[in-house]
């Protein structure tokens, strides 16, 4: 039996964007329905997952481990233009989205990231300037509770302070990585984190549990722990986990979405959601996919908002190269995350010629499975020194980068692979150009210099050029001034549809070398104000 729900706003996707937007709209008294295909994990679920990861020696234990393909939508990828570049997704399905397990690095874009085409002839320009986005970034920092210091000489201007002081620099960052950067003429600065250094709006300060994926203390920002509780108990809000939006239907004129057709994952029962406004906040892959799956309604033959053929185009991501060193001395203890980073290579490069990257480092004994390097370095003259392996691991550190790409991927529907409900999955063809590969080559050249500056003895080779894709899919439903350049307008309204908006990293015309979450939340706050203005 089909259930019908009516609301003022239907929001598909309860990740950071959807959850933040829902709280702001709900506060106006409007009726909000927030749906997500994944479950709502309880604190007991979190704890049990951590425990089972320990029990089974599975360092990669994660939230979606036990979910079926009905909850965790598959995808496919294919090498593009003869390149072996296999794209893989590290997303999570559930109330909280991928932020369930993220590292809460709250880096900002720099001003030039929004004007890449105009300034450097690469990528696409945002239809808004940094000066317009910046106040929303500041609000997002307050919304999330970002700990940071205004000590980044490479950052674009900010209009206010961080909500709280950043984490004190770790021994490694203060005594080893920071000074090494200084020797190379690079400034290491605070890495802003959505992990409080003091109690913040009901959350604990960080308690140094060093298992941030599950965050036993509850300090790290996660939408299900911060924003969803704000919705509980409100009679104008319905939060529906385990509900998959399959298709958006428009009116006959094709200028308004009228219905979201959904299925309950558990029993495949149908759900029809009628609303005045619809917002798709399904992340970098499922947002364009839903627009493509909604083709055919109201004359939108190629998918909603696709009159310019832009849905799925310019798909982008970050590449994450890294290398490991043996410092020859103990790297020190940690909080479980890096306290400093450097934006040096986001600013001090010729962006016409090469892409930018962001860099940080950490004692390898925490994050990185360094058994291969430790064993290799401890094997000499046909003898494996197990004592040497044990002694070297506390001395090892890993330097990692987050590399900007030009956005030359394509996302489309894959007719040969269907999800659990019979719909084509998203297929990604990721192309890396010469420009995209420059930063990785630069990191490869820098590796021995950085190692020397840290006084390190051994350096591993930098990770493969195509490695580390899949954490930050973006760009496939970009905002633009006109439909021939994107899918939604600067207010995130889908071209040609009066009541359909998008918010996720899929609306980024270009993504610089910073993690996207803070910008996503900034755009959600900006969209909330826009929708409130329209409503009034």
């Amino acid at each position: 039996m089909t259930q019908e729900i009516t609301a003022d706003y239907c929001i598909a996707g309860a990740g950071p964007a959807g959850a933040v937007l829902a709280t702001k709209l709900a506060a106006t008294g409007k009726r909000v329905v927030l749906v997500d295909q994944g479950p709502h994990y309880s604190e007991a679920d979190r704890s049990a997952k951590l425990r089972r990861g320990v029990d089974t020696l599975n360092d990669y234990a994660d939230y979606n481990d036990d979910e079926s393909s009905a909850t965790v939508t598959p995808y496919s990828s294919a090498p593009a233009e003869g390149q072996v570049v296999d794209w893989m997704a590290w997303r999570q399905f559930g109330i909280g989205g991928t932020a369930l397990h993220f590292e809460a690095i709250m880096g900002r874009p720099i001003a030039d990231d929004l004007r890449m085409r105009a300034l450097y002839g690469v990528g696409r320009d945002w239809p808004i300037r940094y000066s317009e986005l910046e106040p929303w970034l500041l609000r997002a920092e307050q919304e999330v509770g970002v700990a940071g210091n205004d000590d980044n000489p490479y950052a674009s201007p900010r209009s206010g302070p961080f909500p709280m002081q950043g984490h004190a620099f770790s021994y490694f960052d203060r005594e080893i990585f920071g000074p090494a950067m200084q020797r190379l003429g690079i400034t290491a600065h605070t890495c802003p984190r959505g992990i409080p250094t003091e109690p913040y709006r009901g959350r604990s300060e960080c308690l140094a549990c060093r298992a941030c994926k599950f965050c036993p203390s509850g300090a790290r920002y996660s939408p299900d722990r911060v924003h969803i509780p704000m919705l509980e108990g409100r009679d104008n809000v319905t939060v529906l986990p385990g509900v998959s939006v399959r298709r958006l239907e428009t009116n006959a004129a094709g200028d308004r979405v009228t219905v979201a057709h959904a299925l309950r994952v558990e029993d495949r029962s149908e759900l029809v959601i009628r609303a005045q406004n619809f917002v798709v906040a399904l992340g970098g892959v499922e947002t364009p996919r839903l627009l493509l799956l909604s083709a055919g309604s109201g004359g939108h033959g190629g998918g909603l908002g696709n009159m310019g053929g832009q849905v799925g185009q310019h798909f982008s991501d970050h590449v994450h190269p890294y290398f490991t060193v043996d410092l020859g001395r103990h790297a020190g203890s940690r909080l479980g995350f890096e306290t400093v980073a450097t934006d040096h290579f986001r600013v001090n490069v010729n962006r016409r010629e090469e892409n930018t990257f962001w860099m940080l480092a950490s004692p390898a004994m925490d994050w990185f499975p360094v058994g291969v390097e430790a064993s290799t370095w401890a094997t000499q003259n046909g003898t494996l020194s197990l004592a040497g392996v044990r002694e070297s691991i506390p001395r090892m550190a890993t330097v990692s980068g987050m590399v900007e790409l030009g956005g030359n991927g394509v996302l489309e529907l894959d007719p040969d692979k269907l999800d659990a409900f019979g719909s084509p999955v998203a297929k990604v063809r990721m192309t890396l150009t010469d420009w995209d590969r420059r930063a990785q080559a630069r990191m490869g050249e820098l590796a021995p210099q950085i190692a020397e500056a840290m006084g390190a003895a051994n350096v591993s080779e930098i990770s493969p050029p195509e490695g580390g894709l899949g954490y930050h899919p973006s760009g496939a439903t970009a905002m633009a001034a006109l439909p021939d350049a994107g899918v939604c307008d600067p207010d995130l309204k889908v071209f040609g549809l009066d009541n359909l908006h998008l918010v996720s990293n899929s609306v980024f015309p270009h993504m610089g070398a910073n993690p996207p979450t803070l910008t996503i939340i900034a755009l959600a706050l900006r969209l909330a104000e826009h929708l409130e203005g329209r409503a009034s």
Partner: protein
């Protein structure tokens, strides 16, 4: 639900962790010869000294019970594991070094793979780095800024 309530719920489940360890340890009696030999190798290659024997045995129990881990070795490499294990003295723990020269290719590759795998695990990396257990909330926030002891 308040933050404190949610946190208590989290901790209540977490404190039952040793029960999982005990369940894994109970599997000792049902080990095959291949599992017994693999357990012996884990103790020899691993970092635990004899005085940490109980902790080491607990780890071996979980190692042998984890299909995704043990499946890399058993049952396909049973004979190689048995012959490699015979090269270590009974009860050997935290062996200092191994001469790879005399080892046949299969045994050498298996030993290196096992070493790489064990020392890639966060639990083992934390142990050799004298870090408190992964997931244990330390509370005090100055430890990580101090020079290593």
């Amino acid at each position: 639900m308040s933050y404190e309530l949610r946190r208590r719920e989290f901790i209540q489940v977490l404190v039952s962790l040793p029960l999982g360890y005990a369940a894994a340890a109970c599997a000792v009696e049902r080990r095959t010869p291949g599992q017994t030999a693999l357990g012996k190798l884990v103790l020899a290659v691993g970092p635990w000294p004899a005085e940490d024997g109980a902790r080491a045995d607990e780890f071996v129990g979980r190692f042998l019970a984890a299909d995704h881990v043990v499946g890399l070795y058993l049952p396909e490499s049973s004979s190689t594991i048995l012959s490699l294990a015979r090269r270590f003295a009974d009860g050997a723990m935290a062996v200092g070094e191994v001469d790879l020269g005399p080892l046949p290719d299969g045994e050498r590759e298996l030993l290196v793979q096992l070493t790489q795998q064990i020392y890639s695990l966060v639990e083992v990396r934390f142990y050799v780095s004298s870090e408190p257990r992964w997931g244990e909330c330390l509370g005090e926030r100055t430890r990580y800024v101090q020079p290593p002891a």
